[in-house]
């Protein structure tokens, strides 16, 4: 009789199974109850998501100039003159921000970063036409002090009277772009943009292992904070979104020396080619479309160009802007 009692009956098994199942379902239901498919909201001190202002000059038509020559200072000045001079873009009292590419702590000769000579020339030209202040910023890949120092950008800025803004923690604010898939409540180097009214992007022409090229639009990547390397998995879309986020006054694409291989870091002079071209304009898509040719690439090899164009950022058909082409 005792033996019979110890037997685990089918009924008991089912009851226990039902209880176990109910527990699992309940645990799953509780998990589902807590699951939130949306991104967590900002913390109390970050409630206000910011958006960068539009720094373009609406009354100006899209313009572009392409100047061929070996000397950066000369080609840059000539390219600006061809567009009516710096006074066409910077007015008396303007507060200007130069967004450079200071990504790596490498010497200027490797062309992995914005050449310091361009920082000097642009700063001086801005002051010459009456700018009230000129600042220089970037959030580099390597440590910022070494990057600004070893690239020569800090010294160039300092000698021309521009102030370098290092990407300190408190300068980042969460940004959510309308219709964006990636830049949602993401930290962006916002503070340097807060009190300025003109932005000039200055980028070198480089090969890039992930995106195919790093030029004007990819240069805005240096405004992102946080664990931005996760965006490398969707590099073309993040570049597109960055291009929609920043509406610069002017862009400068330096193709004097282009990094043809092993980008974006390069490392050897043999990665470089003298392409002797300076591109200045107000259309960042057009500038990059032209730059693709300097890298011996077709724009179809750089999908972010078509994506940015489709978003209305600019035109990939740079010829439609009737660019002024000069050689010096």
């Amino acid at each position: 009789m005792q033996k019979m009692k110890d037997v685990f009956t089918r009924r008991q098994f089912l009851i226990r199974s039902a209880k176990a199942g109910a527990s699992v379902v309940a645990a799953g239901a509780i998990g589902y109850w807590f699951y939130d498919s949306r991104a967590p909201g900002p913390s109390p001190d970050q409630k206000s998501s910011v958006l960068l202002s539009d720094f373009s000059i609406p009354e100006l038509e899209k313009k572009m100039s392409i100047v061929r020559g070996q000397n950066r200072a000369d080609t840059l000045e000539t390219a600006l003159k061809a567009l009516g001079g710096m006074e066409n873009f910077i007015k008396k009292g303007d507060r200007v921000l130069l967004k450079v590419n200071a990504a790596f702590a490498s010497p200027p000769m490797l062309s992995a970063t914005t050449h310091p000579q361009l920082v000097t020339v642009l700063t001086k030209l801005c002051y010459k036409v009456g700018a009230a202040s000129v600042c220089v910023t970037d959030n580099p890949i390597n440590d910022p002090v070494s990057c600004f120092g070893l690239t020569g950008i800090a010294e160039a800025a300092d000698s021309a009277g521009a102030r370098v803004i290092l990407p300190k923690e408190n300068l980042f604010k969460p940004t959510t772009l309308p219709d964006a898939n990636l830049i949602k409540n993401w930290p962006v180097l916002y503070e340097p943009f807060k009190d300025i009214n003109k932005v000039i992007g200055i980028a070198p022409v480089k090969d890039h292992h992930r995106s195919g090229a790093s030029m004007v639009m990819k240069n805005w990547y240096g405004l992102l904070g946080g664990r931005r390397n996760i965006f490398h998995q969707d590099i073309h879309n993040i570049i597109k979104e960055l291009a929609t986020m920043v509406k610069p006054t002017l862009v400068v694409l330096d193709g004097t020396t282009s990094m043809m291989t092993n980008g974006p870091t390069g490392g050897s002079l043999s990665d470089l080619k003298q392409t002797n071209t300076m591109i200045v304009g107000t259309d960042q898509v057009a500038a990059d479309a032209f730059g693709a040719g300097l890298l011996d690439k077709d724009i179809s090899e750089l999908p972010y160009i078509a994506k940015a164009e489709a978003k209305g950022v600019g035109t990939a058909d740079y010829q439609s802007l009737n660019p002024i082409e000069l050689s010096i």
């Binding site: 089918r10 009924r11 089912l14 199974s17 039902a18 199942g21 699992v24 799953g28 998990g31 589902y32 699951y35 498919s37 967590p40 900002p42 913390s43 970050q46 990504a103 702590a105 490498s106 010497p107 000769m109 490797l110 959030n139 890949i141 390597n142 440590d143 910022p144 070494s146 070893l150 990407p167 300190k168 923690e169 408190n170 980042f172 604010k173 969460p174 409540n185 993401w186 930290p187 180097l189 890039h208 292992h209 992930r210 790093s214 904070g225 946080g226 664990r227 931005r228 390397n229 996760i230 490398h232 291989t261 092993n262 974006p264 870091t265 490392g267 050897s268 002079l269 043999s270 990665d271």
Partner: protein
């Protein structure tokens, strides 16, 4: 009584099925939900911080150099360590190249020559896990027109930089100037590294499987993954040949079994056809060899023992056939 028991038995069966179904449904739900990736979880604690301030992406300064600073150099910065999680904090988009080749860790440090010059250099020591992985990143980045060195079997310099493989390490030393003066500290550093680390060094065995005549010097490369855009192609060795005025590429890759090599050869051929290639009838003395015309170039694909091999990007059909036969014969000589 018997009927009641039977009824109960049916009821219990249905109940069992219901419970099991519920359990399976719950399990499936959990399984599917765990694929829903929410990047916000990653950054919620780091919002507002630049990359270098974020745990996990922080550059770790050990304060201990990997080996003593060579005489004649003074350190300009502390050593920095990077792993697979934060490699891109140092080399940005190029990280993928290393990660796909088996990267383990990177140590970097900047040095200065202890003379009065402004020359500085930065050493990048990549631990790639194996010599073959190191060869992959070394060979795919090899600079044209560089000068071979005798420091190790695989070493060369350019105007401002020095690159070498030592065992499973890949070294890059970049100088801030392009000059003969820059070479001396770069060599100094390299020799100190080689002397300090007595590691096993091996030749890349596949090197001997490419026929030597007409082979372009230093053209052998190893592609770790997604070779030629085909996601099943990994560990593929390539060599460039100069046939007449044209350059043609030969390739080979060792597989675990003969069957795998045969199957992969067939799959690669189908991949080319799927992307617009056209099968060409050929009569080659290579069993199972296939030729595909794609984008006005010719490719030959075959397998020999454990190897899948072939020729690609030949402008001339005869060049493709000629090089394929030479490669096949070489594999046969080596008894594969």
């Amino acid at each position: 009584m018997h009927r009641t028991n039977k009824k109960r038995s049916y009821l219990e069966t249905y109940l069992s099925l219901l419970i099991l179904s519920a359990l399976m449904l719950t399990g499936t739900g959990i399984f599917l939900m765990q694929f829903t990736y929410n990047p916000a979880v990653l950054y919620i604690e780091t919002i507002g911080l630049p990359a270098e301030r974020i745990p996990g992406t922080q550059k770790t300064s050990t304060g201990i150099p990997l080996f003593p600073t060579p005489k004649g150099l003074v350190s300009l910065s502390p050593p920095e360590l990077f792993d697979s999680q934060n490699l891109s904090d140092k080399i940005d988009g190029k990280a993928e190249l290393y990660l796909s080749a088996g990267f383990v860790r990177l140590q970097t440090q900047r040095f200065k020559s202890n003379d009065a010059s402004n020359l500085w250099l930065e050493a990048f020591i990549y631990d790639m896990g194996t010599g073959q992985n190191a060869f992959s990143v070394f060979s795919t980045q090899r600079r044209e027109g560089s000068e071979s060195l005798n420091l190790t079997q695989y070493s060369y310099r350019t105007e401002n930089a020095l690159f070498l493989i030592h065992g499973h390490y890949y070294l890059e030393i970049i100088a801030s100037e392009a000059s003969e003066e820059a070479l001396q500290p770069m060599e100094l550093y390299s020799k100190a590294f080689i002397d300090t680390f007595q590691v096993e060094t091996k030749s890349v065995s596949e090197e001997n499987l490419f026929p030597k005549p007409d082979r372009v010097d230093n053209s052998i490369s190893m592609i770790s993954s997604d070779a030629f855009g085909f996601d099943r192609f990994d560990q593929v060795f390539t060599a460039v040949y100069k046939l007449g005025d044209a350059e043609v590429m030969a390739f080979l890759s060792h597989r675990k079994t003969t069957e795998e090599a045969e199957e992969l050869a067939q799959a690669y051929q189908e991949f080319l056809i799927a992307f617009g290639g056209r099968h060409i009838e050929i009569d080659l003395p290579i069993a199972g060899a296939k030729m595909v015309d794609i984008l006005d170039t010719y490719e030959v694909i075959f397998s020999k023992g454990h190897f899948i091999a072939g020729v690609r990007e030949a402008q001339d059909r005869n060049h493709a056939q000629e090089l394929a036969i030479r490669l096949y014969n070489k594999l046969e000589q080596n008894q594969y």
